[in-house]
């Protein structure tokens, strides 16, 4: 068990290294020049060259990369070009907001997805099934900014139930989290539906019926625990999806998380921040998958004994 954990840790480090290398090369291949952006439109060529030298951007790519990795292993993500602050400090300040948003989003997608998927499976071929599957299809297909604007129009502008934007209270979380969760809920509803349909046909469900158990107990105790097993692994992968959505959602709702930080950094070609946010996202995905992997045996005794 411990050795498996160690191997996973080494694997994770390698993945992070790979992500860093690819992002680094991609960013430096960009036609935009961060030194010119910092210097401003009217700066002389000499000023730009000075800034470039100051940032170390005049060195060969490999040297810059080694320098970056050297810092990275010591936990140093470099300094923001524009804000002149340590990147790690900037990210640390904004991470809690993003984590709150993601946790709320995952909660919403799992609750809605599992409920609707189960309902659809239990009413297979009937109206409820078709209604749920159509809704799920729309949820999966709708772009996030459209969902965000729709939610804002209905629940903030028209009904006034939730604030338009901002951060701080529970009611601020609802709309951005719902925007994130609705897409996932559609996926989950479809997956849970097929998983539940599959489990309903299993012999042990027939055994449960033969014992005279109530439908409620059969669903809650026998069907769902088995049906959610494949879903657990999904949540780990899901965090990657979320990270992409977070940038859009935070921008629309003015949510002060790392998505917004990334959005500003992209506009300013603030490469250290973009690197930092990318690596943080990669780390989040790795941790999500690790948690899912180590959660699976807790829930499924068959995996435990292997």
């Amino acid at each position: 068990m411990l050795s498996v954990f160690l191997k996973r840790l080494i694997q994770s480090a390698l993945i992070l290294f790979g992500v860093a290398a690819i992002t680094f090369v991609l960013l430096y291949a960009l036609p935009a020049d961060p030194a010119r952006m910092l210097a401003g439109r009217s700066a002389t060529a000499q000023t730009v060259a000075n800034i470039r030298h100051e940032l170390g951007l005049d060195q060969p790519l490999l040297v810059q990369f080694m320098h970056y990795i050297g810092g990275l292993v010591q936990g140093d993500l470099g300094r923001s070009y524009a804000q002149k602050t340590e990147v790690i400090t900037l990210i640390a300040a904004r991470l809690p907001a993003t984590l709150t948003l993601m946790a709320a989003g995952i909660l919403i997608e799992v609750v809605i997805g599992v409920t609707l998927g189960t309902l659809a499976a239990l009413n297979r071929g009937k109206f409820i099934d078709r209604a749920v599957m159509t809704t799920a299809f729309v949820g999966v297909s709708a772009p996030q900014f459209v969902v965000a604007l729709l939610l804002l129009y209905v629940f903030a502008a028209t009904l006034g139930w939730f604030p338009m934007s901002g951060y701080g209270t529970l009611s601020h979380v609802v709309l951005p989290a719902a925007t994130l969760g609705i897409l996932g809920a559609g996926w989950y509803a479809r997956m849970v539906r097929s998983a539940v349909v599959d489990v309903l046909n299993q012999d042990y469900v027939r055994t449960a019926r033969a014992k005279g158990l109530s439908q409620r107990r059969i669903i809650l105790r026998h069907v769902l625990p088995n049906a959610v097993l494949p879903i657990i692994a999904m949540i780990g992968i899901d965090i990657g999806q979320f990270m992409g959505g977070v940038v859009v959602v935070e921008a629309v709702y003015g949510w002060p998380g790392i998505g917004q930080l990334a959005w500003q950094a992209i506009q300013q070609v603030d490469i250290p921040i973009i690197m930092g946010v990318t690596l943080t996202s990669a780390l989040a995905i790795i941790i999500g998958n690790l948690v899912a992997d180590f959660l699976a045996p807790v829930i499924d005794p068959r995996i435990r004994s292997n």
Binding site: R209, A210, K211, R221, L229, I299
Partner: protein
């Protein structure tokens, strides 16, 4: 007839039960006016081949018919004074698991894999009786089905138990609420023969102890002979005949019953012979000096290779250094219980899995051959699998399936292949027009004939038959076995015939190898293995086979 004698009170009475299946072309009657009575303390066997309606009957009694596809057309199912078909779902839940309990065919999948055995047992108890002492009752029940260390078993999960143990747990669960009627649907079909013997014995004991009446559903006339007081023979949704077990076996009044009993393989039928029964009048070929298959020191280990996470743990080999040889026109029966390594041996012999040791097919060593080098050898050796439903591509016509090996080996042009397919179909007893049709249009027995035709397409010398008749009904099974014997006589085929069924092996084999735990415990001629019974394990295997004769069984059981 026993019906004229005074009988104990009737517990369960099924009257004129008819059930319809909803099909795209309207309702189709699949159960047609079934009637029978179950007396207190009696074991009634519903016996018949697939499609006879015996399982549907049992599900109807439990009120577990899938409503979307089946519906009760008419009839009554009386438990005492209540007609179960007229009960509300809520009232029926009280009956289910309470007055009427059921155990199923598949012990491996009939328990919830993520719930402990104890929880599943107690769940049934709490549903129907005083919840306070559920744990004590559960432990007592595990003890009653002879499961050792009940307290520890309660905390285990189903996958930690063997198939036989799981079926014991199912029986404990079913009997925990002391039902008046226990329905057992093929309860031992998925189990090894020695485990089957233990479970059947347990059911007989518990019937006495708990005073439960049993409705047992089985296709196995040996099980019927050992278990039944009375028998209902079913065919195509109708009752063909019913009566006392002795009458059914010794004085069957209906032709179908006689045919069914005649088709039942009886161990010892071929005693005193040195080779399988002759089907054709083809001359027997003189023994050829060079064996078709020569296996020496074959060892197979699963999962011992290094994986994604480095070296896996050391795994004991599944097959441990076995050796045998097989000549043209001969059959070696490879017999053993599940996990004995017999199927693994069959796969290794064809080079389908990695192995250590030597395997010579028609004189050529196949160890370490590449897929390309292996291809010409695959013409010599072919395989027929257990499940004729799963081993034919449903979207490929029968003709295309049989011609496929010819296409792969680039033999003949399109019209020559068509002629070959037609000839092969005739050879296995089907008409050439079958080539245009698709697998779903054929019965299980016909599909297995198609699989045999496909295996014969390349004119092999050796055929590995892995449980090739296990999924077939007895009457169909007998005909497929005869076909295989006939083909052997005419074509000089060598068979490596893998089976768990001693009676089938006795019919088919010239010589027999008995496997246990990856080793050959005994190998010899059919006479040596079946009649001399020199090996203790072989004796145990043979002794566990149900005797399809109630009189002989009772004599043996009485000592």
């Amino acid at each position: 007839m026993s019906d004229t004698k005074s009988r104990p009170a009737t517990v369960l009475s099924v009257r004129d039960l008819s059930i319809d299946a909803r099909t795209p072309s309207g309702l189709k009657r699949i159960l047609d006016g079934i009637s029978f009575d179950l007396a207190a303390g009696e074991t009634l066997c519903l016996a018949g081949e697939s499609g006879s309606g015996k399982s549907v009957t049992s599900l109807a009694i439990m009120g577990l018919l899938p409503k979307a596809s089946l519906r009760v057309a008419s009839g009554e199912i009386r438990l005492g004074d209540t007609d179960l078909l007229r009960l509300s779902e809520k009232a029926m839940r009280q009956v289910r698991g309470g007055d009427v309990a059921m155990i199923f065919q598949e012990p491996m999948t009939s328990l919830n894999p993520v719930m402990t055995v104890g929880t599943q047992l107690m769940e049934a108890i709490r549903e129907h009786q005083d919840a306070a002492n559920a744990e004590d009752v559960a432990k007592h029940m595990l003890d009653a089905v002879h499961i050792t260390d009940p307290a520890r078993r309660m905390t285990q999960y189903p996958h930690e138990l063997s198939g036989g143990m799981r079926q014991r747990v199912m029986i404990a669960m079913a009997l925990s609420c002391r039902p008046k009627v226990l329905i057992a649907d093929e309860p031992t079909t998925a189990l090894d023969v020695t485990v089957q013997a233990q479970i059947l014995k347990l059911m007989r004991e518990l019937k006495q102890e708990f005073g439960t009446s049993i409705v047992m559903i089985t296709h196995d006339m040996g099980v019927v002979a050992e278990m039944a007081d009375r028998v209902v023979i079913m065919q195509n949704g109708k009752t063909v005949e019913q009566g006392d077990v002795m009458d059914i076996f010794h004085r069957p009044s209906v032709t179908y019953t006689r045919e069914l009993l005649a088709a039942v393989p009886r161990l010892g039928t071929y005693a005193g012979t040195d080779e399988p029964p002759r089907i054709s009048s083809a001359p027997i070929r003189p023994p050829f000096p060079k064996p078709v298959l020569e296996v020496s020191d074959l060892t197979v280990t699963y999962g011992g290779k290094s994986g994604w996470f480095g070296r896996g743990a050391e795994v004991p080999p599944t097959v441990k250094g076995i050796s045998f040889r097989l000549e043209a026109g001969q059959t070696l029966g490879l017999v053993g219980e599940s996990g004995s390594g017999k199927s693994t041996t069959g796969k290794a012999v064809l080079g389908l899995i990695p192995f250590k040791g030597t395997v010579r097919i028609d004189g050529q060593d196949i160890a370490g051959l590449s897929a390309r080098a292996m291809q010409p050898i695959r013409r010599t050796a072919q395989m027929i699998f257990q499940d004729p439903y799963a081993s034919l591509d449903p979207r490929m016509s029968v003709g295309a399936a049989i011609a496929e090996p010819l296409v792969i080996h680039k033999i003949g042009n399109a019209s020559e292949r068509r002629d070959r397919v037609a000839a092969l179909l005739k050879r296995v007893g089907l008409t050439p027009d079958a080539a245009e049709r698709y697998p779903h249009e054929f019965s299980g027995g016909q599909r297995q004939r198609i699989c045999i035709a496909r295996a014969l397409a390349l004119e092999p010398k050796l055929i590995i038959a892995d449980e090739s008749v296990a999924a077939l009904d007895v009457s169909v099974r007998a005909r497929v076995l005869d076909l295989m014997l006939e083909l052997q006589e005419q074509m000089g085929l060598a068979y490596l015939f893998i089976s768990h069924d001693m009676a089938v092996i006795e019919k088919m084999a010239h010589s027999v190898a008995v496997m246990r735990g990856g080793e050959l415990v005994e190998m010899g001629t059919r006479r040596q293995v079946f009649e001399e019974q020199r090996n203790e394990y072989t004796r145990k295997l043979i002794g566990a086979v149900p005797i399809p004769d109630p009189e002989v069984y009772r004599r043996v059981a009485a000592g």
